[in-house]
């Protein structure tokens, strides 16, 4: 590609940024040019500065988050320092991560119109323009819907339309996949690609789920690490360089599989996307590797710890949230409950914890019926950790937070301390015992909430989306920690739509769709079953697709081998 002919739209030159609240600069000497009509992916572990970089583009830095800027950043040929946030918002449209939180209007139409309202566009013209943009993102028929009636993917489309209505030159997507299930994420990437191709706008995507973004073409990937640019190259080149794994960013699984099979990845294999991969070059070694793997002996079954029998639940008569759900969970298992948003998986957890009472059926803990037991009584057996730690933490000091549950139970203070110490120890928080909660990162706060549950010594731990919003590094940290807990005998149930998590950590997966259980098998079997994966808005893992491509008869064996190999080599 000949870049000299293209017009640069974003130019960072010796750019540095330091938040006033921090001692060190977050971005150092950034030199980066993005050209008109390019589609660029920004990746990096959290804390690397990739979100900061994004915020510099849309003007939240320095207008909302104050700090010191050195060097120059030109957008559309003009220094951003000389513009204000409104002028910038005409050039750069930002779709924020949380589609729920950025829904400003009460209806779809109103939300899309928000930018026009602020520009004092006349009502009639506004309505026409809103209609036009809403149709581009397939929301034209839903202009009157309220956010409560929309799915996560639809909400994201609305925010997308809300920035396109301004006819911006640059579209910036901040972690567009973070809150979407795998199948919806795929549609979102498709939509971004379609708009990019049709309008030839410049698209910048900030995301750490590399493989999912690469489902469609991108021109360049920019890797940010420690506030500097660590790589700036095409996907194919990046896959053959040994950069991602060193920085703790997850490579696409097919690339990992190739590396396990001893293949030296080169740019001419076009390994950036599975769709472009030159299969002939990699087929032989992959098949050979697959045959070399020995099958592991399955572990002996442990006694059942939690059992649901024909559970049904409904809030109102019209819609059944759970219908006749039965399953068994064995002691010491690590289980994932998966399914689309609104499928009933959170409700299932609520029923187990006693937050709501089942209409039919029963729940057994070691053959003991839990019917009639209050939330408090069940909490001796079952701990529940919410997705957002900020919704759980209510004490300013870490020690007090972890001790809270014990204190409420009236445990003597001298007994509390060793229990809290142990919980903090397990969670790797022992050095922070006397610290305030506010000094911790998001991931550490999450561990505080887990520690406060562990202090109560539950036999079963239920976690809602334990890794949401975490990059690969922190994800691994949390999951390895849960794994360790699990090995110490705690049965762990996770509500998730992260397929990597399912595959890697939970041998057993229960799939809920429309309130019914549609699958209950090993994670590998679920993610290699196109029918179940499709119905639950999951997608088959790319390993499965790779296995099909190279012509393996039973793709699930290949996937299982991959997981076993990974466990064997790294941990």
């Amino acid at each position: 590609m000949n870049y000299t002919e293209r017009k640069p739209v974003i130019e960072f030159k010796d750019f540095s940024f330091q938040y006033f609240s921090q001692a060190e600069p977050t971005l150092h000497d950034i030199n980066l040019t993005i050209y008109e009509g390019e589609k660029v992916l920004l990746v990096g572990p959290s804390g690397s500065g990739k979100s900061t970089l994004g915020n510099c583009l849309n003007g939240l830095i320095p207008f909302a988050y104050k700090g010191e800027i050195k060097g120059s950043l030109k957008i559309g040929g003009k220094e951003t320092k000389e513009m204000n946030i409104f002028e910038l918002s005409k050039k750069v449209g930002t779709v924020l991560q949380d589609a729920d939180g950025q829904f400003i209007g009460l209806t779809v139409g109103e939300d899309v119109a928000f930018a026009l309202e602020n520009d004092c566009v006349k009502q009639e013209q506004m309505k026409a323009q809103v209609q036009k943009v809403a149709e581009i993102v397939d929301m034209g028929k839903l202009l009157k819907s309220s956010p409560f009636e929309l799915s996560g993917g639809q909400k994201q489309r609305v925010s997308f339309a809300g920035v396109m209505v301004d006819d911006v030159d640059i579209l910036l997507f901040d972690e567009p996949l973070a809150n979407l299930d795998p199948a919806t994420g795929k549609t979102a990437i498709d939509l971004i690609d379609r708009v990019w191709k049709n309008s030839r706008k410049t698209v910048v995507i900030v995301e750490h789920r590399l493989e999912d973004v690469l489902y469609r073409d991108v021109d360049r990937i920019i890797v940010v690490s420690d506030g500097r640019i660590a790589a700036d190259m095409s996907p194919d080149e990046l896959m053959s360089a040994d950069i991602l794994s060193k920085l703790g960013i997850r490579e696409p699984l097919h690339v990992t599989a190739m590396k396990y099979a001893g293949i030296q990845v080169t740019p001419d294999m076009h390994a950036g996307r599975l769709a472009t991969l030159d299969i002939e070059k990699v087929k032989e070694p992959l098949l050979k590797w697959n045959l070399e793997q020995t099958k592991k002996e399955p572990k002996a079954e442990r006694p059942v710890i939690l059992e649901a029998e024909h559970l049904s639940f409904q809030y109102t008569k019209k819609r059944k949230i759970l219908q006749d759900v039965s399953f068994q969970i064995h002691e010491g298992e690590m289980v994932s409950i998966v399914g689309t948003n609104g499928a009933g998986k959170s409700t299932l957890a609520k029923v187990i914890c006693g937050f709501v009472t089942e209409d039919e059926g029963r729940i057994l803990y070691k053959d003991q019926d839990l019917k009639g037991q209050t939330i408090k009584e069940r909490s001796h057996l079952i701990g529940f950790v919410m997705q957002n730690p900020n919704q759980m933490i209510c004490k300013p000091m870490i020690y007090d937070e972890v001790a809270l549950g014990l204190r409420i139970r009236g445990v003597a203070e001298e007994e509390i301390e060793p229990k809290v110490d142990k919980a903090l120890q397990i969670c790797g928080l022992a050095p922070f015992k006397k610290w305030p909660v506010s000094a911790l990162s998001f991931g550490q706060k999450k561990r505080v909430t887990i520690a406060s549950m562990l202090a109560l010594d539950p036999k079963v731990l239920i976690l809602d989306e334990p890794t949401a919003g975490q990059d690969y590094h922190h994800y691994t940290e949390i999951m390895e920690f849960l794994k360790k807990l699990n090995e110490e005998g705690v049965t762990i149930i996770m509500i998730t739509h992260d397929m990597h998590l399912m595959l890697e950590y939970t041998p057993h997966a229960i799939v809920i769709s429309d309130g019914k259980k549609i699958g209950d098998a090993s994670a590998v079997e679920i993610l290699t079953n196109e029918e179940i994966a499709g119905r639950a808005n999951l997608k088959t893992t790319s390993l499965y697709d790779l296995a099909v491509k190279i012509g393996i008869e039973d793709p699930s064996v290949f996937v299982q081998n991959f997981i076993d190999y990974e466990r064997g080599t790294y941990r």
Binding site: I104, E117, K127, Y315, F384, L404
Partner: protein, 277 residues
């Protein structure tokens, strides 16, 4: 679910189609007219009117069932406590004493006291349907648009509408947090002593405040990124021009208020209607 209590659901009828401004004006006029007067005849008239409006709005009783129960409990308590603390207040006001029977000492039951207390609870009870109509039939953004049109700064108006908007979300958050805290053993049920319960509710408020602050930061960023506050003025996607029905309704509200004032000044000569002299 409780969260549905304050959710706005669009309908097409006379009350829903009124502008938010009209509804606010009428609400204030009618509330003020019953708050000002202690004439039970007039209060019953206004109550009847508000029940008719409620019927016209097409709202379902089940939408306000929970609220109604709370109000009844509150009124009953109010009725009882008023009697407990000032059983003779009616006599003081009306200056006569028609005793029906006596419990002991100053606790007598008089017609005056009964009239005073019944009047007082009808006052409160008549405001409730109007408040419900206003909350449930007004599109918060449209309301903001109307406020802006009568000269209130649009940033303030928008802040108000967002507050109405996020109220259901906050209730939802509160419920989630309350459940999670209960699973740690925090007891919010009546089994626990009141003092402890209040303390436990405080424990829920801290995470609620923090998650609300997160939400506010996010929404204000989102609004700024889309040009909120750029100009001194803005237009409104949902603005409704004031129509005949609006002017008529506001006039009607004003008449009700004027009636109450006139009754007080010219007919009764005081805020109380005294049938005993």
């Amino acid at each position: 679910m409780k969260a549905k209590l304050f959710d706005y659901i669009d309908r097409d009828n006379f009350i829903f189609n009124l502008s938010g401004l009209t509804k606010l004006v009428c609400f204030i006029c009618m509330t003020f007219s019953v708050m000002f007067s202690y004439d039970i005849r007039y209060i019953l008239l206004v109550m009847l009117l508000s029940l008719i409006f409620f019927k016209m709005s097409g709202l379902q009783f089940k939408q306000i069932k929970l609220m109604t129960i709370y109000v009844i409990i509150f009124l009953a308590m109010n009725f009882f406590l008023t009697y407990l603390f000032s059983p003779q207040y009616g006599i003081e006001i009306y200056g006569t004493n028609h005793e029906l029977f006596r419990f002991s000492g100053r606790y007598t039951v008089t017609l005056e006291q009964l009239l005073y207390q019944v009047t007082k609870i009808t006052k409160y009870a008549s405001v409730v349907p109007m408040g419900m109509i206003f909350l449930l039939t007004t599109n918060p953004s449209e309301f903001a648009a109307s406020l802006n049109r009568v000269g209130i700064n649009y940033k303030g108006a928008y802040a108000l509408s967002l507050t109405l908007r996020y109220f259901p979300d906050m209730i939802r958050d509160y419920q989630d947090i309350a459940l999670a805290q209960q699973s740690r053993g925090l007891d919010l049920s009546k089994k626990e002593k009141l003092g402890v319960r209040v303390k436990n509710i405080m424990n829920i408020c801290v995470p609620l405040i923090f998650s609300t602050l997160d939400r506010i930061e996010l929404i204000s960023n989102a609004m700024e990124l889309r040009g909120f506050g750029k100009h001194k003025k803005r237009t409104w996607y949902v603005a409704k021009p004031l129509k005949k029905g609006d002017w008529f309704s506001m006039l009607f509200g004003a008449v009700v208020l004027a009636g109450s004032l006139a009754l007080t000044i010219f007919v009764n000569g005081s805020r109380f209607w005294n049938p005993f002299v």
